[in-house]
């Protein structure tokens, strides 16, 4: 199976890219193993407790993708800068108590590894 990596840099609700990434991923899972790397403000996407009035809860959409086997990683430096701290232990597949299950904070080096192993890369950024 081929591998697709999606790179996001924008936070949720400021653009539709996070939701677009979800829809692309849902479709791509028919043919691809999908990685999603959350960089810069995109590290806000998996935050628990979001209550958007007029949009889908993007954190819940992403945890749903993780349940389907999508590897979702957030940049550690970007996450720490925004108050999301990586812990040593995993709980429900996540190493951050503020994140939805299945989504982990990881090193930026993981982005490079994802790129090396990918057959296709999609970058969504404003």
């Amino acid at each position: 199976m081929k591998t697709l990596t999606i790179v996001l840099t924008d936070g949720p609700y400021i653009s539709e890219y996070a939701e677009i990434a979800c829809k692309l991923t849902e479709e791509a899972l028919r043919w691809y193993h999908v990685n999603i790397f959350l960089y810069l403000d995109a590290v806000h996407i998996p935050r628990k407790g979001q209550t958007p009035s007029f949009f889908s809860n993007i954190g819940e959409l992403f945890t749903g993708l993780a349940e389907k086997g999508v590897v979702i990683r957030a940049c550690a430096r970007c996450a720490a800068a925004r108050g999301y701290i990586a812990e040593e232990n995993l709980e429900n597949g996540s190493n951050c108590k503020d994140y939805h299950p299945g989504i982990r904070i990881s090193s930026l080096y993981e982005l490079a590894e994802m790129l090396k192993k990918s057959d296709r890369v999609i970058s969504l950024s404003r």
């Binding site: 970007c78 490079a112 790129l115 090396k116």
Partner: protein, 114 residues
């Protein structure tokens, strides 16, 4: 994936985008062919003698200098539009026109936008 083109069209200071692009470039240099393309306001990153002291930001041109193996393409029309063409630029860059910029993007395996 063997090669990646990082496209930066955001000015170097005032947001985290340029710094983020340079960090992504840095981790990709190990084992991949990496090109950084500066387009639009991104060409300000090519200006020499940047002083970011008062911004409490790292000097991003110094970071570019420290990655000698990195290929940096600068979109020449963007430089001209911003009055930077006759200014002192960092030495490690290559000036390219629209056609060559696009060709370089096409030739690499992936393009990541900042």
């Amino acid at each position: 994936m063997k090669s990646v083109f990082y496209l930066l069209d955001t000015a170097p200071y005032g947001s985290e985008k340029a710094f983020g692009a340079l960090n992504a470039v840095a981790v990709s240099l190990n084992g991949m062919n990496v090109t950084l393309g500066l387009y639009g306001d991104g060409v300000y990153l090519a200006a020499a003698d940047q002083d970011s002291t008062n911004l409490r930001m790292p000097n991003l041109s110094d970071i570019l200098y420290s990655y000698g193996e990195l290929r940096v393409l600068v979109h020449e029309p963007s430089l001209i539009e911003r009055g930077l063409f006759d200014k002192t630029l960092i030495e490690t860059i290559e000036l390219v026109d629209e056609e060559d910029f696009l060709k370089e993007m096409e030739n690499l395996d992936s393009v990541i936008l900042f």
